[in-house]
Amino acid sequence: MSENIYKPYLMKIENIIEETSDVRTFRLKFKNAEDAEKFSFKAGQFGEYSVFGEGESTFCIASAPTRREYIECTFRKAGRVTNGLANLEIGDTVGFRGPYGNTFPIEEWEGKSLLYIAGGIALPPMRCVIWNTIDLREKYKDITIVYGARSAADLVYKQELKEWEERPDIKLITTVDPGGQTPDWKGEVGFVPMVLEKVAPSSENTIAILCGPPVMIKFTMPVLKKLGFQDKDIYTTLENRMKCGFGKCGRCNVGKVFVCKDGPVFSYEQILSLPAEY
């Protein structure tokens, strides 16, 4: 039987974490051991997650490729499929198609320092590459993570953040929007671009990886340029509407690229060469 590229793997939900009131992380395992054996992916790639009867939704694979027993995804309840997913329980079946897309070129970054900047629900696409580089820690120099959300309650991966904070070989700066802090909040207060400017990490031999809503990216880019980062050393992910995941349905076509094939990871230099349709 030749391969049906639209047919998903059947996955079992092994664990559900309620990150915030409307954000969930699912840990998924392949139902079929053979599929698990053959499957591999790299940091930055995404998948199409199905709820049969509702449809498919595009999320990055949020776990690290170095941890092969499961894959994880994190999503916010926003529409039909994500609400359908949020109604599922441990043990239920989810469809998964992937891995699709390109990857963060972490091999090219070896020997350099890494500056990760994320906002809100955009930490998931980064979590994969953060864990990947932490698992290969000796290959990189400094690792700095700047992560902000609207409020303390909206921070995702709270457990992870604690672990990263406790590690001496990672510098973690968390921030919440003004008014989002709780009385016992110990992190920064302020929007991500402003906190970044305050912390002023060095751009010397450093790669900046940036994920967030369009407005955050819009205001963070000038700060990075001010700090001396070059376009080719800034990476981000484009989050266009995607459906098939392999460059055929046409939805994510921007200029001559398909975000699902040539992305979603792009350097800022590449993005500047595209029409502003993302």
Partner: protein, 336 residues
């Protein structure tokens, strides 16, 4: 395979048609009651038209149907299952009487569906398709095949191409093994060809597609797009009638616990096409969507696939309720 040229008389053509129609599915053009040309499966030979310029809908349906079931599922919480569609059930289809523009589209569709990873639904249908094309003895003001590198007698995509002759018979150009297999069914119908003159129409070139592609590389911000798309209604008519448009949607449909996932035609002209769940839409207004249509077909595809996304059939223009005439727009565009 080297092209073999034969003569096939009109009466022999009828015999060939009847033979094919008796043993397999033949998709042939007929004139419907409202004077439109449409393709039907196995019409009587007397109803088959050789006189059409273009059918309303393209023939992409034979390889890219408007609805294609991808798989069936049963939604059972912990025990959900997937049942495959048996693509071996896809029958052989003989496409009869489609013009060179339509047939050239199969290559373009292949460059989308068979690129990188193969869509087996498309590739199986294409594998089972035999194309007996028909050169054009008529054309009208909407035709512009010669502007996109094709002609009324282009052989691209055909397995046998019938060229109308001035004496009413046809020259049969046998182009592929599949075409040869058809001939082998009744070789006596295919006679030696002389130098009878063909009765092909002439299609004047309206624009240079090279010039257009070059112009488009720097025309993204030009006011041309807004000025020329104000009347565009934003429907999907042009994309749906187009032989090379292949954008699709994927949807689930369930009744009770069982359902299917299918893909169906979609259009970049719809506002929903690029809409994010957050409400952000990279192409918020119609001029951006019209620009995408032209850029995709004449700039992005040539750069990416090395083929244009258009065969010059003119269906988009004749089917458009507000005369968004693509050839007219490109004629203007190449000179801006």
């Amino acid at each position: 395979m080297e092209t073999i040229r034969k003569l096939i008389r009109k009466q022999s053509l009828e015999k060939l048609y009847n033979q094919l129609s008796a043993s397999r599915k033949v998709y042939a053009p007929v004139i419907a009651t409202d004077k439109q040309t449409e393709y039907k499966y196995n019409p009587a030979f007397a109803d088959v038209t050789f006189d059409h310029i273009r059918s309303t809908l393209s023939v992409k349906n034979v390889v890219f149907p408007k609805v294609e079931n991808l798989f069936f599922y049963s939604n059972a919480k912990t025990e959900s299952t997937i049942t495959d569609v048996d693509i071996n059930k896809i029958p052989e289809v003989v496409l009869w009487g489609a013009h060179p523009c339509d047939n050239a589209a199969f290559d373009i569709l292949s460059s989308i569906f068979c690129w990188d990873i193969t869509d087996e639904f498309f590739s199986k249908r294409l594998e089972k398709l035999v194309v007996i094309g028909l050169g054009c003895h008529k054309s009208d003001e909407y035709c512009f095949c010669t502007s996109v590198g094709l002609a009324p007698d282009s052989s691209k995509g055909s397995d046998i191409l019938l060229i109308p002759l001035q004496n009413g018979d046809y020259r049969a150009d046998i182009l592929t093994e599949k075409g040869n297999n058809i001939v082998e069914l009744s070789p006596e119908l295919f006679e030696t060809v002389g130098d009878e003159k063909s009765a092909l129409t002439e299609v004047k070139q309206k624009f240079s597609h090279d010039k257009v592609t070059t112009k488009l590389a720097t025309a993204f911000e030009h006011p041309f797009w807004v000025e020329n798309s104000l009347r565009c209604l934003g429907c999907g008519a042009c994309a749906y009638v187009c032989p090379t448009c292949a954008c699709f949607d994927i949807q689930d449909e369930t009744r009770g616990k069982n359902g299917k996932r299918y893909r169906s035609w979609d259009s970049c002209g719809f506002g929903l096409f690029t809409l994010h769940t957050s409400g952000h839409n990279p192409r918020e207004v119609q001029s951006q969507r019209w620009r995408q249509r032209i850029m995709h077909k004449f700039s992005y595809m040539p750069e990416r696939n090395e083929s244009l996304g258009c065969v010059g059939c003119g269906r988009c223009s004749s089917g458009c309720p507000v005369d968004m005439n693509i050839a007219e727009q490109l004629e203007v565009l190449q000179n801006i």
